[in-house]
Amino acid sequence: MADAPAVAQAPAARRGTGEVAVTGAAAASAYGRGTEALVSGMLSGQPAFAPVQRFDVSVRRVRFAATMPGLPDLLTEVTRAAAEACDEAGLSPSDRARTPFYLAIHGDPAIARAPEADQPGHGPGPFTAAVASGCGLAEQDIRCYTSACVAASTAIGDAASIIARGHTDRVVVAGGYLVECDQFALFDAGRVLAGDGQVRPFSAGRRGLLLGDGVGAVVVESLQAARARRAPPLARLAGWGRTGDAYHPVQPHPEGHGMARAITAALQRAGIAAGDLGYINAHGSGTGQSDPAETNALRLALGDAAAGVPVSSTKSLHGQSLEASGVLELVVTLLAARKGMLPVNAGFLGADDRCRLNLVLGEPLPATAEFAMSLNAAFGGANTALVIGLP
């Protein structure tokens, strides 16, 4: 496969001069709806995986996922989360009507079974418009990201970038994935699901990933605009980076070159050093190739600091929520930093020499993390890094 460029060859990241904040956040997962349920679930340290009841898995090799009870509807859940984030940010109806909306989804779950003539009405565009309409956001300024597991984190990075440049004051970013039969069948066919029913990131004996319901939304806003309307920031969105590996269609670069460049760009934009990071919410898929590649990326980008900064992959708790991962995990990172309690990297069986990191094991770690980073990676060699700072 192709040889990716070294980190040193990456151009220096630029950004606009404006400061960016998160002024509202919402989430839903197998732990329930709302950020309180998410925090409680994260700090319980108990993974949410169970045998799938939502659809028939009798012909699948693996039968576990992390799901909410019943048959939640994606449009309803994403609309609810986006509205809750707007409520927390204190956005008035007129504020919302002027606010662009970015959504990260795999697609409208109905399209594959819709009559051909109806399929155009089930594209990601109409779905995004329906969410925007449902929570009063600017329907003329919407965008849908479908870039797999970096879709939401890319959308958040783009939102931060245009706000820092002063192109707009505010963007609402949401993402959603609810475990359903088609993606479950595909992941089962790809033999990437963990047959032992647990996700064990960076651990010896890890068997793969498990899918999980994930819905999240954040209000990304100019710090100046937030202050002007007396909205308290939950966190600063200090840095962001997005890169590609150019190594393999569906595998990460084994040395983590692309991910390392994303981390470096995010730190540059945040204006901080590697040693300033107090927590990293890793991509940590729990698969054989991805976890060592991410470890190498952290070592490459952070140098000696990689051995000290606490790391966990909360996919070991709430599962892999595909296109929504980036926003759900940013909300987890933000809540952990604000609470001063870092969630565990669950499912750990023992050290893997290729994944030597300072993992949060056993119990949540009380810690002050003024700066924290959320990482994501996806098919296509896509990588993202987002850095938040406490206000």
Binding site: P5, P11, T146, D182, Q183, A185, L186, Y247, A378
Partner: protein
């Protein structure tokens, strides 16, 4: 022997217009079909049952081959995929297999997101910039402009594709290679 008759491109004019609106310079462009010789989309190894990924790969390759001047080896190229409906053919095949209680091909797993063919293009053409997939042409060019402005890429390959939905329609795709207004190559002082 007569030359193949040209076919009016669909999507290309919108890409050019959106590039102009975003302040980007178009270096090369291509579409599918371009002439009536464009019948079957050439197969792409590893991608099955749907022409979606092969279509993206073909039109992207055409645009990249038409680059006016050799690419600077240090240039970072972003890949921005734009599709209104995505790979509906693959999605329908998977749903049919699931509804019939059957297992699906592992190859369909790998092509279930547009990132996979973007990754193929990145390797084949050594495009080391970010990979982004969005649902609209304007959004795609806005993302490309932002990545160039932020020095996450020096240039962007924007590829737009959608499969035929109804009988009588054809699969359509277009691609443009864009740079910033002055093709900065990251040499300007950044704004940190």
């Amino acid at each position: 022997m007569t030359s193949p008759a040209s076919i009016a491109p669909r999507g290309l004019a919108e890409l050019h217009a959106a590039a102009a609106a975003a302040g980007l310079t178009v270096c090369a462009s291509a579409s599918w079909p371009e002439t009536d010789a464009d019948g079957e989309v050439p197969a792409l190894a590893g991608f099955i049952e749907s022409s979606f990924s092969p279509l993206l790969a073909e039109v992207a390759a055409r645009a990249l081959r038409r680059r006016g001047q050799p690419r600077d080896s240090g240039n970072v190229t972003a890949i921005v995929m734009v599709t209104a409906l995505g790979d509906v053919t693959s999605a329908v095949r998977v749903a049919a297999a699931v509804d019939a209680g059957k297992r699906v091909s592992p190859l369909l797993f790998f092509q279930s997101v547009p990132n996979a063919v973007a990754g193929y293009l990145a390797v084949r053409w050594h495009l080391t910039g970010p990979v982004v997939c969005v649902s609209g042409i304007r959004a795609g060019l806005d993302v490309a402009a932002l990545l160039i402005e932020d020095a996450d890429a020096d240039e962007a390959l924007v590829v737009c594709a959608d499969l035929a939905v109804t009988n009588g329609d054809r699969d359509r795709a277009a691609a443009i290679l864009v740079t910033g207004p002055a093709n900065r190559n990251g040499t300007e002082p950044h704004e940190l």
